[in-house]
Amino acid sequence: MSDNQDTPQPESPQPESPGPATAPSGGTGTQPLPGPPGSGATSSGPPGTPPPGFPPPPGFPPPQGPPPPQGPPPPPWGQVPAADRLADRLRALRRSRHERIVAGVCGGVARGLGIDPLLLRVITVVLTLFGGAGVVLYALGWLLLPVDDGEPSLGSQLTDRRTARPSSRTVLLAVVLAVAVTVGVLSAFRRWDGPLLLALALAGLVVYVMRDPAPPALAAGPGAPGSVAVPGQFPTTTPAGVSTAGPSGASAFAATAPIPAATAGPPTTASAAPPWQGPPGAPPAPPQPPLPPAPPRERSMLGGLTISATLLALGVLAAVDVSGVNLPDGAYPALALTIIGLGLLVGAWLGRARGLVWIGLVLAVVTLVASVAAPWHDNHGRNGVDLDLRLTSVSQLPTDAEYSAGQVRYDLTAVPFEGQAARMGAHIGFGELVVTVPRDVDVTVHASTGVGAVDLLGADTSGGFGTDRTKTDLGPDGTGGGTLNLDLEAGFGHVEVRRATA
């Protein structure tokens, strides 16, 4: 939480930091962290120990409360080739146990990438609204990312026979997620966000396939030499969080992560080199340090104040409305949006009210729609086109008409379609596209809007984000009267097809 800046926190270790230069070389063996017995802090040189002088993450151990999962320090990224670094970073992505709304995907990935979780959440929600890719990506992360406390990913639990048999609930969840991902990815070939979706799905699969093989010496329990969770050390090659987990946690993790001792030989031989430069047979993945349990959120009155002020202002506006003043369309959401925006601006420096972002997003969409919709209803649009086109022959039909903004009405009732197979295409960036077709023509309409509504022959009305409809209508006479193929699109606005009654 951004209010934390003022106070020293048991801050999380910093994965990207090439730490050796900056911190006192607190002996890594001095951290009194809990761990399995029999694996005492004996030396500074077993496998997995970071280079001497590597700083322990600041703030450990925390003064009280549940011990946070111990974060191993990061490897010095500078020594690793860029491609490996990227792969390692991808592999180090985790779902967060603590920083979560649904399954911790955004929280964990944001942490792994070093960005604000709120940003990822907003992107996910927006991608969900515009086409649904957000859901697919979230499901992908949920399925493939392990949890930062050592729990393997759902995919691993399903496919890795060395782990304990997953519960039926886990299986069901994983199957649902896999179906969602499959459907989403298969549909990606005909979507605007398809390339993004495919690229990320591919990256996810690569990470999944490249995930560290289970060590052969799974039986080497938590107490085994060189195994995970040696207290007093920062085992760079062991997974996040295992140090606080019991034996079950450690062994559950062991199924998906490398344990250096399994392949790297006796501790004495492997102690000198940094782990990531170790034997080629044992490429260790730098794990992502888990997030310590988030401190309790600092209470701020700003959110409550802003919401209250918004309600108050809306009440005043409603009173004005009732008293007979003619309010413009969208006055309510615009006023609320203004106050939410002011609250957020204040929150940039004073107090904290980031939850307002979600309310603001909804209000912004409503206000935008009101902004672009109102002028056409009121005929206020001055610079936008306002066309009434009355066509009389098939040859006049545009195949690819483009309008930037405004209102365009095509009247095709006088076009003789009898015995013809005609097609027409039109696109408007912002605004309204209305096509009136003759009574008897057989129409097939493909209509789409980025944001807005589609009304096809009064029978198929839908709206929202990314509307895409196809409809065939033969008219009251059934087949006959010629055919017309309509392809209509509005980026931000309204598409309507009417059938003339006479």
Binding site: M1, S2, D3, N4, Q5, D6, Q9, E11, S12, Q14, E99, A110, R111, G114, D116, P117, L118, L291, S300, M301, L302, L305, G330, A331, A334, L337, T338, G341, L342, G343, L344, L345, G347, A348, W349, L350, G351, R352, R354, L356, V357, G360, L363, T367, L368, A370, S371, V372, A374, P375, H380, G381, R382, N383, G384, S404, A405, G429, F430, G431
Partner: protein, 75 residues
């Protein structure tokens, strides 16, 4: 008295940028409704709001430098 209610902290770029975007959308609405802005202009003004908010966010982030950036990560 205000100080007792809310605490001052380093700039929260997320709040700042989204606040600016929302105020920009509200301003867009007000301009369109008052006929100061026609629709083709609005299709320029809208993206301009995003560009300006983004530039301000970048500027604030860069100016703040390393100071406190890690704290931003935890939300």
């Amino acid at each position: 008295m205000w100080r007792c209610v809310v605490r001052r902290h380093d700039t929260d770029v997320m709040s700042l940028v989204f606040g600016l975007v929302f105020l920009g959308v509200a301003a867009l609405w007000a301009l369109v409704q008052s006929d100061l802005l026609s629709l083709p202009d609005a299709s320029v003004f809208g993206p301009a709001v995003l560009v300006v908010a983004g530039l301000i966010g970048i500027a604030v982030t860069l100016r703040r430098g390393n100071r406190g950036t890690r704290d931003e990560i935890r939300d």
